[in-house]
């Protein structure tokens, strides 16, 4: 397994797509932080929710709130990048015909797929760490301009470790759904289309949120969707670093699933997607490219 992960790492770390996605992801993070900084630099004296929003942006640029900003970026735009990255890593093996080259040597398909998924998650973890580091560096430069001292407590660092793991856990079901979709369609585009469609339907249009309005069983169904449970986990990350998005957005905390439920529901979805992917991959004939 370690050998396979090393081989996958070599492949993915040399792939131009990996670097393009990483650079784009980091550039967008920098753009987001600089925008927040610019908005708070000449923060006008306002009252009510507008003031709260400006204060929230300011906290998001300073320590330790900057960690929440970085991890929020990972679970926001990062989810889209993760879907493209995972679909590319799996689907290209079909289009280039390299899957056959690999499996003609080592037929352990479960091990191969698990090694690939592990490597994808390790790379996403690396990207998350880089994003956090870059955000911290940027905050260290911007904090004095905003008249704030740089202060990180051991507790913040402990929170950072837990929050980073939580952020990666949030990405897991989307990566596994994309892996399954890519194997099903045997193509990068198929994986990207299904992975992104799910994210868009769930978050972009808020289509599933309509279920909550219907109440009863529908509200229960909504509370069991990936997005709703992930909201709990991402909110925990923000709270861990002193941000309070509920003060600036119409967010009813009482409607969110509990952290325990969120953790279990995400695990169940992930287990299902992984099982489907493994069963499909095990049964499929591996034919030529395309």
């Amino acid at each position: 397994m370690i050998n396979l992960i090393r081989a996958e790492w070599l492949k993915l770390s040399r792939r131009p797509l990996s670097w393009i996605l990483l650079i784009l992801f980091l550039v967008l993070l920098v753009a987001q932080i600089l925008t927040q900084f610019a908005l708070t630099l000449g923060m006008p004296v306002r009252s009510g929710i507008v003031s709260a929003q400006f204060e929230e942006w300011r906290r998001g640029v300073l320590f330790p709130g900057i960690f929440a900003t970085a991890l929020s970026h990972v679970n926001g735009l990062g989810g889209i990048f993760a879907v493209i990255f995972a679909a590319g890593a799996i689907g290209s093996e079909y289009s280039w015909g390299t899957l056959r080259t690999q499996l003609a040597r080592d037929p352990a398909r479960d091990r191969y797929l698990l090694a690939k998924l592990t490597t994808i998650m390790l790379m996403l973890a690396t990207a998350t760490l880089l994003a956090t580091l870059l955000a911290a560096l940027l905050s260290a430069v911007l904090s004095p301009i905003l008249g704030s001292a740089i202060s990180i407590t051991p507790g913040d660092l402990m929170n950072l470790i837990v929050a980073t793991l939580r952020a990666l856990y949030v990405l897991l079901p989307y990566v596994l759904l994309t892996a399954y979709a890519t194997l099903l369609t045997r193509s990068v585009l198929g994986g990207v289309a299904i992975g992104l469609s799910y994210i868009i339907v769930e978050t972009g249009f808020g289509a599933l949120a309509l279920l909550r309005v219907l109440g009863g069983v529908w509200a229960l169904v909504y509370n069991l969707t990936i997005g709703q449970n992930i909201n709990t986990l991402t909110l925990m990350n923000r709270h861990a670093f002193g941000l309070r998005p509920e003060t600036t957005a119409p967010l009813d905390l009482s409607q969110l699933p509990s952290p325990l439920q969120a953790t279990i529901v995400v695990a169940v979805y992930s287990a299902f997607f992984l099982a489907f992917a493994l069963i499909l991959f095990r049964r499929r004939d591996i034919t030529g490219p395309g």
Partner: protein
Amino acid sequence: METTIRTEELTKRFGDRVAVDRINLEVRSGEIFGFLGPNGAGKTTTIGMLLGLVRPTSGRAFVLGYDIQKETAAALREVGAMIEAPAFYPYLSGRDNLRVLARAAGLPDRRVDEVLEQVDLSGRARDRFGAYSQGMKQRLGIAAALLHHPRLIMLDEPTNGLDPAGQLEIRNLVRSLAGSGRTVFLCSHLLHEVEQICQRVAILKQGRIIAQGEVATLVRRGVLVRTIGERERAEALLRATPWISSVSDHGGAFLIDAPGDRTADINALLTAGGVPVAEIRKYESSLEEFFLEVTTERERR
């Protein structure tokens, strides 16, 4: 002799289409075995089944004594294969592509350099695979097949895209691999190439093996005689001659299984028997002729 590949009624169906139909193959250890057939005959599907990539619908396959469906990993540890066009990551160099395979197999990078040297690709090893010529891609495919010291090597069209010098080099490499005790299973549509290097062949058509045996027995040798009429009398005379072991029809002429240096005796025999001879000569068919003969024969039926 030990058997390296054996199939028993191996069959693969894709929906209603039968890609491989109850084939029984036998490849012996240390030989170069040619697997021939027109495009779409089922060669690659058969290789896919022998490598555990494609699940047979029925039948069994044994590779190096292992049941390929039950002991795939054990079998593939000793098999190197290049299937159809060599497939590698276009953005990686030739060397890095092999390093990926070597890492997965737990082999040191030193082995990568050895096989690159063996296929004469060391000079371009650091170039991107996507920038390789077809010939270089073929060489890299062969290098990948040799990486883990396999006992059985399956090569699908290994000389595709190579110039004549490159083809000769690969033929020599294949010969040397077999000379070192390895078995080579060679898929090719270049029949003269197969004839030159293979000991035995199987010909596949529409998923079925229509001929299998030693090249020497499939390639027909003898004396070709064309008479002017008097066919029945000529045949009776030839069949009655003790040193002629067989007489068969060959496009309106007789193909006689007799030593090539007895053409004068055959001529004398027929003219003495009152049969005018239009043509008499030594005959040696190529594998290509045999291939065309058996494949078109089936079509006529």
